[in-house]
């Protein structure tokens, strides 16, 4: 039994409740009709409400559980979710092209949502062990394997959006001392990737060569011993990366993937085809004005102009019906929640709890960044939910577990 409940972080719990309730309000609005009712479990808002109750029950059980249990059984949870992910290939339900679901009594369960929890626990467990050091290449490979296994299984479903979220663990590794080179490397990859897409290849090559050669001569002035070789190697690696990005983008990617990037990069404005969702989402949000059109008054929402509005595009309903005030408030609540989790995690003595807290914050951040960025037309279309708000039972349950495990660990801070 957990005896530290009175030390619970009630502020975070309040933030959690406000987000979930606000989510229910907006899901209610997106599918509003005369049968809309919180207790009608056949419609989204009713289902979401049901999962909210389920989440609260789970949260209650989690809070009553001793903190040690999570650390001790982390690997068990992890293996269990791996089994569930593998089991999908046999027992899974195919919904819109991806085998991501178990159907249990008419209710869909998405194991990849729980894989986030289990992986976070497993990574925290592994990194908190004394003999593990991320600066050590062997340890790094060990941790990397733990992260990559579920990614592979999820990509195979295929659900690349959810798989992408596991990239959040990079932030965790970096916090735990990963070489800065990796950070530069990742940002370099992203930078050159975008550059390769928006600029002609010869131009990119020319800039890379000019930049690195001048860098070489600059370093020669400071240090006569500087070698040309590493710079030449860097030129070679950068150019071949840029070339391969270009090649993959044009020859390996399917047109729909290319289009997603083109829309964001402003290369293509096809508001009837692939650009329809983003365009309608922007119209919905943009038409909200300062105060929004009001609850149940969103014409974009009522007319179903934004597809997937109650799931991935729920933010467009918020923008339309609650305006700049409402949507900024949501952004601020997320910002505050993530930073509060990070702050509290940093103050925990237990390495396991701290690393877990980081993983939680990083996962929330990636969802927040991709989902809202996509609704605002800043990030390519990647279908992942907005935590606590988007419709989706497994997602709500998964995130609730993720959060409440941290709250449990956090409330236990004095016992370490």
């Amino acid at each position: 039994m957990n005896k530290n409940l009175y030390r619970l972080d009630w502020v975070t719990i309040c933030l959690y409740f406000s987000l979930v309730v606000f989510g229910l309000v907006n899901i209610y609005s997106t599918n509003f009709n005369e049968n809309s009712n919180l207790f009608n479990f056949k419609i989204p808002v009713g289902k979401q409400f049901l999962f909210f109750i389920l989440s609260l029950v789970s949260a209650f059980i989690i809070l009553l559980t001793k903190a040690k249990v999570f650390e001790r059984f982390a690997s068990v949870f992890y293996l269990l979710t791996l089994v569930m992910l593998i089991g999908l290939f046999i027992f899974g339900n195919n919904i819109s092209g991806a085998t991501s679901w178990y159907n249990i009594g008419g209710i869909g369960l998405q194991p990849s949502e729980f894989a986030k929890v289990a992986t976070a626990l497993a990574v925290a467990k592994l990194l908190s062990e004394i003999q593990i050091n991320v600066k050590n290449i062997k340890s790094l490979l060990q941790v990397g394997l733990v992260i990559v296994l579920p990614i592979i299984l999820i990509i195979l479903q295929p659900d690349p959006g959810t798989a992408l979220v596991f990239g959040a663990f990079f932030f965790v590794l970096f916090r735990e001392g990963l070489n800065s080179f990796f950070l530069l490397f990742i940002f370099g990859l992203i930078f050159f990737f975008i550059l390769a897409l928006i600029a002609p290849i010869p131009f990119v090559f020319a800039s890379i060569i000019t930049l690195l050669i001048s860098l070489y001569f600059f370093s020669r002035k400071l240090n006569k011993k500087a070698h040309l070789l590493p710079y030449l190697a860097l030129i070679f690696v950068s150019c071949s990366y840029v070339y391969s990005v270009d090649y993959i983008f044009n020859n390996v990617f399917e047109q729909r993937h290319r289009d997603r990037f083109n829309i964001i990069l402003g290369k293509e404005v096809d508001t009837q085809g692939i650009g329809y969702n983003i365009n309608q989402s922007k119209i919905a949000i943009g038409s909200g004005g300062w105060e929004g059109k009001g609850f149940l008054q969103g014409t974009q929402t009522k007319g179903n102009f934004v597809p997937e509005q109650h799931t991935d595009y729920i933010f467009s309903t918020i923008g339309e019906e609650w305006g700049f005030y409402g949507s900024s408030a949501v952004v601020l609540v997320f910002c505050f929640l993530i930073i509060r989790i990070l702050y509290r995690a940093e103050n925990l003595k237990s390495n396991f709890a701290r690393i877990y807290g980081h993983a939680l914050a990083a996962i929330l951040f990636l969802h927040f960044f991709i989902n809202i960025g996509m609704s605002l037309g800043l990030v390519p279309t990647i279908g992942i939910p907005l935590p606590f708000i988007s419709y989706g039972g497994s997602s709500l349950l998964g995130f609730s577990c993720l959060l409440f495990i941290f709250l449990n660990l956090d409330s236990n801070r004095l016992n370490e």
């Binding site: 916090r175 309608q280 119209i283 943009g286 179903n304 700049f324 993530i338 951040f365 605002l376």
Partner: protein, 619 residues
Amino acid sequence: MRKLLLAGLTLIMSMVFIVRLFQLQVLNTSYQKLSDNNAILSISDFPERGFIYDRNGSLLVANQAAYDIMIIPENVTPFDTISFCKLADIPKEKLIVNLKKARRFSERLPSVIVNQISKETYAKLQEQMWKYEGFFIQKKSLRDYRIDFGANVLGYVSEVNTNDLKNDEYYQLGEIIGRQGIEKSYEKELRGEKGKRFLQKDRFNRIIGEYKDKSFDIDPKPANNIHLTLDATLQEFGESLMQNKRGGIVAIEPSTGEILALISAPSFNPNLLVGRNRSNNYRKLANDTLSKPLFDRGLQALYPPGSPFKTLNALIALQEGVITPETKFKCNKGHYYARGAFMECHCKRGSNNDLLKGIYQSCNTYFANTYKKIIEKYDTPDKGLNQWNEHLKSFGLGNYLGYDLSVGKRGFIPNAAYYNSWYKEGGWKAPTIISNAIGQGEVLTTPIQLANFTAAIANRGYYYTPHFLKSVSGDTLQRNFTRKNTSINPEHFEIVVEGMHKVVEKGTARIARIKDIEVCGKTGTAENFTKIDGVRTQLTDHSIFIAFAPKDDPKIAIAVFIENGYWGGRWAAPIASLMIEKYINKEVKRTWLEKRMLGGSLVSEYEKPISGKPFEINE
């Protein structure tokens, strides 16, 4: 450092998002409009077009429901085409073509598949409609003319054209506008004011409900009903009398200027311009360039007024003091009005007529002399002619009368400037223009102008602007059909009225006598010409008659103009007389005369000039 990366990124991205939200929601205002275009459908809500009644309250024009069969292609399931075609009374090929057209237009939006089905078809079809998914019947409103006459007065409605759209922002494509007649003149009263309803659409353009609980909706303003001054019975009677003839009849109530009947012959059934065959019928009417049924002869046809014009010359001469009722002129079957220029007259040799006799005998000599005196009263003929012109203008001649229909002609009354431009200045004198004395020459009038000055004579010196509008329900309209005084003093009228009474009692129009009604009138016979292959050819004279009755307290003033009807007493006088009898006595006792007029035909007369053969006139 490492501790702060994620927190920093979170802060930066939150700021980026808020700036982006501010840009989308606050700075950029175009999204509101895009969203409204997306989701709001505004539908015009039309009030029912106003009804039109005659002066006695009988309904002339109402509205009828018409039914279109509509489809929404995406809802159509396979159906029994043959039985549907039978029910809807449409050939199978046409149905297939229309279905294809509808599909091409939109899968989700309704299109018309069968236009304006009859009430019988509607009744049959309605019971069977459930068999045909995706089909429904849409009601619309058409004009319903309860009468088969009066088309020239009532006018018609049609869809707005690009000009209307440019001229008046009120209208939108596909709407109805009054195109002619009363429908045009009182368009604003009859149409009311359309309202707006806002509906919400979903992304498939389907209606999903009211927008904001109707709070933005604008209620339509109901249309007004209009009561006309027209007497439907008289109008119908007049049109039947005019069958197989060409010309116009205008009847006015002198004491008010209310137009009791405006007949233009040939006319057409107003119902021809309603419904399925509207455009075909219209084309036929518009292409009939010989009898010109769309041309309102009562308002638009210019004729020389002929002898009725003598009454005006008599009045002017009395007013100018150049004659008295006792003034006499000698007539020997006519007279020389200048050296070698003889004007014929049908008076007996050796007649010596005073004004009264001059009028009822219609003595050309008398009025030629009178006219000469008017022109020569001043030191130059210019002054005399212009004075004469001013008097005639006060009777509403030579200009638009200001009645409430949109077609008309000014007519023509010459002045000095006109003749000075034809002859050189001083190159003309009274004898030059002597034809004006007897309503020939350069004078041109429309039948309504004839009727109007007859009303002025009946009133002994004034008239009201003739008009068709009696009242508007709701009475929103300012009416300004004012009294206009002529420039002739009232005391001069009695002798002319007496003369006109004698015309009927013992003069040229004895056929116009009605038992127990004192009718005053004046016949006219106007020479007229046309061009056949470039050659000026005389045609049979026009038959003209003006009249009012009863002599004291006149109830009706009337002008009848029958093209090529020969002399005034032959067609125009009997028709005018029958009209008066019908209006005052409500029934016609002289059935023999009625029969003769109804049965009389001038078709052979109208065929002469186009037959291409030589022909006789005035036979």
